[in-house]
Structures are given as C-alpha cells and as structure tokens.
C-alpha cells in the first residue's frame, strides 16, 4: 500500500463524519488521548515526518520546541493558504477528507498543549470553507472536538479564518500578522512562532497536508510511515501535476519516486505526443529542470542536490513548444504582484525584473538586460526579511541560465 492521504479517494460522502468513522476515522485521536503528549510527540518524531508545505522542517522537532511553554497559552494554526502556482493538494484534503485534517489538528493540539486552533484558508476557497464548517460542526456534535474530547478532559476548539488574496500570507509569520488583523507582512525571525507567534504566544503552524498525515502515523506507528518512502525517505508526498501532460491531476507517491515516473506513468506523459522541454518540480518557486535533468528522485535532499527543491510538490510540465521567456514573464509578473512591499530589494527588484523581462518579450531587450536581471536576482537573494525574495529570484535566474539562447534570440540585435 503506497497511498496514505488518497487511500480513500472516491469513497462516497467521505466528507461526512459517519463515513469517515466507518473508514476507521477518529481511532487515532482516541489512541493519542490514551497516551502522554510527550509519547505522541515521540511517535511523530520517529516517523521522520517533515513539513509538506515546502520548507520540510521536521514536524516532531517543531512540537518538541513547544513543550517548554506548557504553562503558557499555545496556539495551533493550520496553514491552508494554498497559493504556490502549480499546487492544488490541500484543497483536495479539505474538500473530500476534512475530518482527517480535523483529527490531525486535534492530535497535534493535544501533543503541544494547544486549546485553540485556526484554519487559515485562502479567500478564494469559498466552497471548501463551507465543507469545513459543516465538518467542524459534526465533529463538535459527536464530541471529537470542543470541550473534553471523548471525555478525556482535553479541550480543543477550531476557528476558520479566511484570507483575502495574498500569496505572501502563506509565509507563517505573514499569516500570523494577517490573523492579527494587519497587512500580511512577514516578521523578522527570530523569534520563531514556537516562541512568540499569534498574539505573542507560542504557536505551532503546519500545512494542511502535514497535519493530515498524523492520524495514519499514530495508528500505524512510525515505521509504517517511514517504510513507504523509497530508499529510506519518509512517507509519501502529494504531487499536483499540471501543464502539458495527458492526465493532469493530484497523485500520491512515495517520497523518492523518480520525477520521470511521475510524468510518464502517473500523468501519462507529455500530451499530443510532443517532446519535453522542462519541468518545474515543486511549485513555481522551484527552479526548473531541463528534460535531460528529470532522472531525479522526488525528495528533499535529492532535489536540493539537483539545484532545485521539492517545495509544495506542484509539478508543472512544459512541452517542447513552450517559450521559456514567456514563462519567465508570467513568473516575474506574479512575484512583482505578490511582493508585500516591506523590503526595498524585493519591492523594487521584482518590478525591475518584470520590466526587463517584459521588454525582452516585446523584442525591445538590449544586450545587457540578461546580465542586469541576473544581477538583480543576486542582490535580492539574502537581503530580505522572508524567503519570498529567494523564491522570486531562483526560478527566473534558472530559466535564464538554462535557456539563455531563447532569451538572446529575442534581444534587439
């Protein structure tokens, strides 16, 4: 069995608590509540579960940081501000398997001592928010959420909080700022949210997908989770495959699965019988790979070694006819639009890059434009408060470096 999160895909009415419980749902919560919080943390730590939002921080270690704050109010936030272009995994879980998320959150809350949780969902997911509201109400009615869950004495409450169209709010401290009724501008770290997060209190933040793995790990044990990944990589990963493929969609495969296998077997290969030009392997912010670079295992260390990242697992496939300068133009427009404006290098730099790439695509680029863009990318990297500056520059620099001749062909001679 290689699927964890999608194993019940297609089960009718899985979003209702009765069907979820028929599938064994909420047994993990019952088991967790019979253990000490520290033991729950140990199980998750041993499983090797790493954050599935993009950064890949070990989940158990994050929880361990919270244990020193047992006397303080601890908040748990589920980051459902899915906005990385190419990514559409969290929406599946929330729409079709919301109780899995609620159960995972409640176990995480028990382990970390949180009594109040938030699901911060992007504003565009209006219909999913309604599914979640119903699921939360069901969970409360059945005593899986709220006061003294299953009579354990442990209480936990979840509120849904709606974003309003800001990509950078997916960054955890920007998300906290947004939850505090401010513009979503990332905070300087440290302090990290584990020490000072929402309302200045210790806060644990996880992506939807990370939290949804928790019930499986608690029921089946850490080794069952670790055992699924290839070559001792931990667990599975949801991959959203889009672009020029025959079968775009959401797939779950073991960590370490070859990118080639995902494109040609899961997604049925490049559509219309065309050749492959390049692949963005982990959401738009992950530097693209050329067709000759796709024999890479899809896990955190392997993709880092290949000069890119696993990120959100959003795979965008580009066929041989795709114009990379046009893709760079889309990417540059996106980052210029979404920069929060707090740090000058990012605010000004993303717009300068957009200006230059637009100019090149319009046939008005000059001989030094490419060097200027690469220089701007270097200047922005590392000189901003959050990782947006890196995310905005890495993919564009990679497009220019790997497909330079396509850009040069557009320059004014």
């Amino acid at each position: 069995m290689n699927e964890i999160l999608l194993r019940n895909r297609g089960t009718a009415n899985l979003h209702t608590i009765s069907v979820y419980r028929e599938q064994g749902g909420y047994r993990a919560l019952e088991k967790a509540l019979s253990l000490q919080p520290d033991d729950v943390i140990s199980i998750v730590q041993e499983s090797g579960l790493r954050g599935r939002g993009g950064a890949g921080f070990p989940a158990g270690a994050k929880w361990r940081l919270l244990t020193r704050y047992r006397v303080k109010t601890v908040y748990l936030i589920c980051n459902a501000d899915e906005g990385e272009p190419g990514t559409f995994k969290d929406r599946y879980i929330m729409e079709f398997d919301p109780h899995c998320l609620i159960e995972g959150m409640t176990i995480a809350a028990y382990a970390t001592g949180a009594h109040h949780g938030f699901i911060y969902i992007r504003g565009e997911y209006d219909w999913i928010e309604r599914v979640l509201e119903l699921a939360l109400a069901e969970a409360r009615t059945e005593g899986m959420l709220g006061h003294s869950i299953m009579g354990s004495g442990f209480s936990f409450y979840i509120d849904i909080y709606r974003g309003a169209g800001s990509y950078v709010c997916g960054e955890e401290t920007a998300l906290i700022e947004s939850l505090e009724g401010k513009a979503g501008r990332p905070r300087l770290k440290p302090p990290f949210p584990a020490a000072s997060g929402l309302y200045g209190e210790p806060t644990v933040i996880h992506n939807v997908t990370t939290l949804s793995f928790i019930p499986f790990i608690i029921i089946n044990g850490p080794d069952a989770f670790k055992g699924i990944g290839k070559n001792r990589k931990e667990g599975t990963k949801l991959f959203g495959i889009s672009g020029h493929v025959n079968r775009p969609g959401l797939y779950e495969y073991p960590m370490g699965t070859a990118l080639r296998e995902l494109i040609y077997e899961a997604a049925g290969g490049v559509r219309d019988g065309k050749g492959l030009k390049a692949v963005i392997p982990g959401g738009l912010s992950a530097p693209l790979l050329r067709a000759d670079e796709i024999d890479v295992e899809m896990d955190f260390p392997s993709l880092n070694a290949a000069g890119t990242m696993l990120g959100s697992g959003g795979i965008i496939v580009l066929d041989e006819d795709t114009s990379i300068p046009r893709m760079a133009q889309k990417a540059a427009a996106f980052y210029a639009h979404e920069s929060c404006g707090q740090c000058t290098p990012c605010r000004e730099g993303t717009h300068m890059i957009k200006f230059l790439i637009d100019r090149i695509n319009e046939g008005q680029g000059t001989g030094t434009d490419l060097e200027h863009i690469l220089k701007l990318c270097r200047y922005i990297r590392g000189s901003t408060i959050c990782a947006f500056g890196i995310a905005a520059t890495m993919p564009i620099a990679a497009m220019i470096v790997k497909f330079r001749s396509e850009f040069e062909a557009l320059l004014r001679s």
Binding site: G83, P85, D126, W127, G163, G165, G181, K182, I316
Partner: protein
C-alpha cells in the same frame, strides 16, 4: 452605510476571537460580501465600531487583493493568468473574455454587469484553465462553455433576475 444588521454581525466577530484585532479582516470581508465593495464611509464607520484608527483599517483593506475599494460589476470575473492556466491553448482565457465582453483587465462593462480582473493562481492548476465569478469556481473551461456561462448570466438579467 453600515446598517444595524451588519453592525450586529460585526459585533459578533468582535467577540469571536481571542483578540479583537482578529475581527478587522473578517469585518471587511463581510462588508464586501453584503455591499459589493468597501467604501471610504464603510471604513470610517468600521473604525468607530472596532475602535481602531482609520489608518489601521485602511492599511488592511488596501493590502489584500480580494478586498475591493471601488464598485465592481454585478458579476466579477477573476481569471487566472498564471502558468498552468496559460499553457493549454494558443489564446488565454483572459484574452477570450476580454474580446467577448469588450473590456480589459480592471474594467467594467457599460451596463455594470461584468467586471474583469486578471488574478494569480486560484489553485486549479490540474483543472486549468480556471476562473471565478463572484465566489463561484469554474474549472476545465472551454471557450464555448465560457460563452454559454456569460450568455446565461445575460439571459438571467434580461429575464429580470435578482
């Protein structure tokens, strides 16, 4: 004008969260849901209800791209223009809509019925191309299907729909 009913709902939000600051964004979203957009007057009134400065309210209202400070069309079309939604056809959904409605990005039709906005990723990459009409999602859109949707909305208006 924030009427008594809306004010009551906002007051509900003030006690919903552990900290009143968290009521600002949901209040603005609520005002927009009820009134279509958030006016200067609404922000002034909200500042009095929540007891935050007008500057604070405006700093939030002006930051988030889904919050609109000017009137929009009755049907606000938000069209994804990011990579996956642009890859599949020669012409993009945005170009097609722009042509059939006769308006560009950020514009509203003369009858006030439709407004068009290019937006970033809607999380529909596997079901591209996608757009939203007000809060409804539409995915896997063919151009003929888009034409039918637009025509059905026009038809509804002609029939004196709500």
């Amino acid at each position: 004008m924030i009427d008594a009913g809306l004010k009551k709902e906002i007051e509900g939000l003030m006690i919903k969260f552990p900290c009143i600051d968290s009521a600002i964004l949901p209040s603005l979203t609520l005002i927009q849901e009820r009134k279509g957009f958030i006016s200067q007057g609404d922000m002034e009134e909200l500042s009095r209800i929540l007891k935050f400065s007008q500057a604070r309210i405006f700093s939030v209202a002006s930051f988030y791209s889904m919050l609109k400070l000017r009137p929009r069309g009755k049907y606000h079309l938000q069209v994804c223009t990011n990579i996956s939604c642009s890859l599949l056809r020669e012409k993009t959904l945005m170009e097609h809509l722009s042509r059939i409605l006769g308006i560009g990005d950020g514009e509203t039709t003369g009858d006030g019925l439709f407004s068009l906005e290019a937006v970033e990723c809607l999380g529909s990459c596997g079901y591209a191309p996608a757009m939203m009409i007000n809060s409804d999602h539409f995915e896997n859109l063919g151009f003929d299907q888009v034409d039918r949707i637009i025509e059905s909305l026009r038809e509804k208006e002609r029939a004196g729909g709500v």
